[in-house]
Symmetry: none
Subunit: 374 residues, 2 copies
DNA sequence: ACGTGATGAG
DNA sequence: CTCATCACGT
């Protein structure tokens, strides 16, 4: 039996808008950790992976793992029947062949209920190795959208090159060639130093704050969800080393140098942390604040700290240059409705990972590079 | 070698939006005076002529005349990659077969560069005789757009008739006939008296003012050729005269004037210098303030004084009535993004001249009248 | 989120 | 050739 209560139907709507063009049918895999989905796009070139953390729901219950095979076009239709701010409850009995969606107006004076027929879908859930990437670019999702859209007018593919200079997107076409160079923004360095790290944050909390859709409000201050003192504290302890650094630079993140170490340590770290603590409790993550969902995007940015206006942050072990199909990148960029920030991770000869993190989870796209030079 | 730096890419974007449906390929003729373009529309019925004055650029350099043959659809695509407020630098080496466009974000942390392939185009640059027109109507561009769009729903063509009564646009269609009569607005008389005059500012410059497209102005006050000294100075005086009248009836008008002045100063910093002494320098014209470009369009209009909201000004030597294809006029009216004011000039049996003047230049459309009565 | 334009299907 | 659906841009 699955029952998940989402504070705003909008999240699901946006999520489906993000993937429905890429994938027609997919299994939503539900288990006690949350709901995830993984699917190849229709032409088997790209892979999309979505995770919705159980903690991101106002209420979440899943007795035993179940795959929910749905036709995404149908689900989209059903979701269109929800208002953005409706409370959405998704239910499914263990034996049922339908998925039940209930939309409850905030005022509670309207309740709509839909049953979506489920289908059997071959789940070709392939494990994705946790790659260590040579380069990671953290940038405003809108900027990414703009660039790939612009360049897609000129040509079919784009060469993305990360170097000390910055990140360059270049495309050649019949009528014109173009390239866009984004330099690293100094302020972005501070801002994104820990982006994505805290997403695996164990919380000492039960799920009390369930409805905090966006605990992040004050994050500008210390970029993540510095919500309550308590929380923060905990976090600090746990994350320990990493956080400590932040604390140190609270003043104003002086340090640029630290970033990299941190970066690295994080990747491994998060897992570790989780392990330690998660094992005990079942909630192992806290929906983080990282990418601000578009919905609440507008937030004041204080003085020198660029909040969401963006800025580009580049982490690089090694110069990387890969070529990708723009068509897919344009498709990926639709997820900007889910987060204001996108991360591109690349290493030579392995698929690009394009990730949008949002409060309740994350959507990741993988796309293999084109081989010959194009 | 050509290098032109434009403060806002928006100007070029709008310019291309204006003509791209009319013309597919065209030569941008660059010389030290600026950039101009002249082309017949695809069906050789209309002619479009664009001038961008060298002084309208933040920086302009063109060592020797070069024609840049471009496909306008391609150029449009490339321009779509610019944000409106990007600084746009257009470059072309003498021998190059590409036109280089660079977009620099104001913040400078994003630099995009595009190379547009050039092509050879038969330049059928035909000289257009400087006609003396029997009637000239100066009116708000938005009004013109509205009228031709409205009438185009009824019929194919419109009869434009200028008489003492005003200007009448009439169209007959299967289902309905319609006509719109615009009477002259008193305030417009003052306002537009000199519209378009000062753009032909004779300069004590070597090559003389040859390129003046409309020498006929002089009927109003003499203003123009007097400019011996600083052109701006001259202009000011000029405007002064005009304004004076306005002042007489209306305090408000002063404001309008100020706006205009301001407008000018905005256009480029060089202007200031010009004020003091430009006779020495090479600029022979002042980008005029006449039609306010849409970009700055929104300006407060005080009380009773119509600032830019328009008013219709009619100059007529003789009653004129001609019939034109609405399809083309609708197309011409797209230039309202470039200027808030349009001028229609007509004489019996010669092509209509439809002109939009803006800060850096002017766009003119010519359209032959239909012969039989339609 | 809405409106407009473009593309594919009947 | 017309209608409907989908996608993109404002």
């Amino acid at each position: 039996m699955l029952e998940a209560r989402l504070r705003e139907a909008a999240l699901l709507k946006r999520l489906l808008d993000s993937i429905k063009e890429l994938v027609t049918d997919a299994n939503f895999e539900c288990n006690e950790e949350g709901i995830s989905l993984q699917a190849m796009d229709n032409s088997h070139v790209a892979l999309v992976s979505v995770k919705l953390d159980a903690l991101g729901f106002q209420r979440y219950r899943c007795d035993r793992p179940i795959p929910l095979g749905v036709n995404l076009a149908s689900l989209t239709k059903v979701l269109k029947c929800a208002k953005d701010d409706d409370i959405c409850v998704v239910k499914c009995s263990d034996d049922a062949d339908v998925l039940n969606l209930t939309y409850e107006a905030r005022s509670s004076d309207r309740i709509a209920e839909y049953d979506l027929k489920l289908m059997d879908i071959d789940s070709d859930t392939l494990g994705i190795p946790d790659t260590e990437y040579d380069a990671r670019v953290t940038m405003p999702a809108s900027e990414f959208t703009r660039i790939v859209r612009d360049l897609s007018q000129l040509g079919e593919s784009v060469r993305i090159e990360v170097s000390k200079e910055g990140v360059r997107f270049a495309s050649d076409g019949e009528a014109a060639n173009g390239n866009v160079l984004l330099k690293q923004t100094e302020s972005a360095r501070e801002k994104y130093k820990d982006y994505g790290k805290d997403q695996e944050e164990p919380e000492p909390k039960e799920e009390g704050d369930d409805d905090d859709d966006e605990p992040k409000e004050e994050d500008d201050e210390d970029r993540e969800e510095g919500s309550s003192k308590g929380k923060k504290k905990v976090k600090k302890e746990k994350v320990g080393g990493k956080v400590k650094k932040e604390a140190a630079d609270d003043v104003d993140m002086d340090d640029a140098d630290e970033d990299e170490d941190k970066e690295k340590s994080d990747d491994g770290e998060e897992e570790k942390d989780s392990d330690d603590e998660d094992s005990s409790s079942k909630k192992r993550k806290r929906p983080t604040t990282n990418g601000k969902p578009a919905k609440k995007a507008k937030k004041g940015e204080q003085g020198g700290a660029p909040a969401d206006d963006g800025g580009v942050f580049i982490e690089m072990n090694q110069h990387v240059a890969l070529t990708f199909s723009l068509k897919y990148l344009v498709n990926f960029s639709k997820s900007q409705t889910l987060s204001n920030t996108v991360q591109l991770m690349m290493s030579s000869d392995v698929p690009l990972l394009c990730s949008y993190k949002f409060g309740q989870g994350e959507i990741k796209y993988y796309l293999a590079p084109k081989i010959g030079e194009e």
